[in-house]
């Protein structure tokens, strides 16, 4: 299935949940903000959140800035 991840098209071969998706990308869970279709998914709900075709995913974090 095709998703939009941080503005870029990505193809997922198998169905997965948000937590697994993040881990598959070798990203630490801590410090990340995960948004699905413009809604923030809290950390304790990531494993319940199943990604679907055409979902818009934004993975954000806090960085240095003035």
């Amino acid at each position: 299935m095709e998703l939009l991840v941080n503005g870029k098209k990505e193809v997922l071969k198998t169905q997965t949940n948000a937590k697994q998706f993040i881990q598959d990308k070798n990203l630490p869970l801590e410090g990340l903000v995960f948004m699905l279709n413009d809604e923030i998914i809290k950390k304790d709900r990531l494993n319940e959140c199943i990604l679907q075709e055409n979902d818009k995913v934004e993975i954000l974090c806090f960085v240095s800035g003035g």
Partner: protein
């Protein structure tokens, strides 16, 4: 004698706010916070670079320092509001620095869009600190829209040119009830002292500290300057005059 600054329901004993931007080594940030005793620091929200993930800047900020996320990247009010809501949802607290910038040459803030975002976010319970081009009318509107403080720039971001907007900031200090925090362009501790002597409630300094040869030491220098400027303001400085006024009594005995 206590001279605390209450902003958004939080009591600050240090009137120097700082930023996390531009440090050559992020490990300097907690050391700078310790040397400067700054109690509030800014950060930004960005997409994770999935090819090369950035480190979480919050790892470098001690728990007792108040987080001030900014809406950098926003080109209009709608984007600023979106970033603010995400930052709060992500656990950053209620403070938000509104930064709406379309101009890449001077990084001038868009006062009109900043005002729109201020109205919306203040209405949602944020403690809004709008970063703005000093303008008395715009500042009044932002105050009336519910801003917790007004943050006029001294000179362009990162320019280190000091309080070029002095006369307008003086207008704001005299006529705006909301606290005035001078943000951007402060390049030297003496600039920070100048802002505080004028009666500003606080200053926000990022580039001048981060890009100093010794950011930890510079943080301390700025903290001392802010305290000096504030003490001078409270002590009420003596007036300037056109002509000399002798400090020692005129002597008559040498001529008798």
């Amino acid at each position: 004698m206590s001279d605390k600054f209450t902003l958004g329901g939080v009591e600050f004993s240090n009137r120097l706010f700082t930023g996390t931007g531009k440090f050559p080594d992020k490990n300097l940030i907690p050391k700078m916070l310790e040397s400067s005793e700054s109690e509030m620091i800014t950060m930004a929200l960005r997409r994770v670079d999935l090819t090369s993930p950035q480190e979480n800047i919050l790892n470098y900020i001690p728990k007792n320092v108040v987080l001030l996320p900014n809406t950098s990247g926003a080109r209009n009010a709608e984007e600023a509001v979106k970033i603010a809501r995400i930052a709060r949802e992500a656990g950053c607290g209620n403070f938000i620095k509104i930064e709406v910038i379309n101009d890449t040459k001077y990084l001038m803030p868009d006062n009109e869009e900043t005002l729109k975002a201020t109205k919306i976010l203040a209405g949602e319970g944020f403690q809004v600190l709008p970063y703005m081009m000093p303008d008395l009318i715009a500042a009044k509107k932002m105050q009336d829209a519910g801003a917790a403080a007004i943050m006029p720039l001294g000179s362009p971001i990162g320019s280190n040119r000091g309080i070029e907007t002095r006369s307008i900031i003086e207008m704001l200090i005299e006529n705006i009830n909301a606290p005035i925090i001078v943000d951007a362009g402060i390049g030297r501790p003496s600039h920070a002292a100048e802002a505080m002597e004028m009666g500003a409630d606080a200053v926000l300094v990022n580039s001048a500290i981060a890009l100093a040869n010794d950011p930890v030491r510079m943080g301390k220098a700025f903290s001392m300057a802010v305290k000096a400027g504030r003490e001078a303001y409270l002590a009420k400085m003596a007036e300037e005059s056109k002509y000399a006024e002798a400090s020692s009594p005129l002597t008559g005995f040498l001529r008798d």
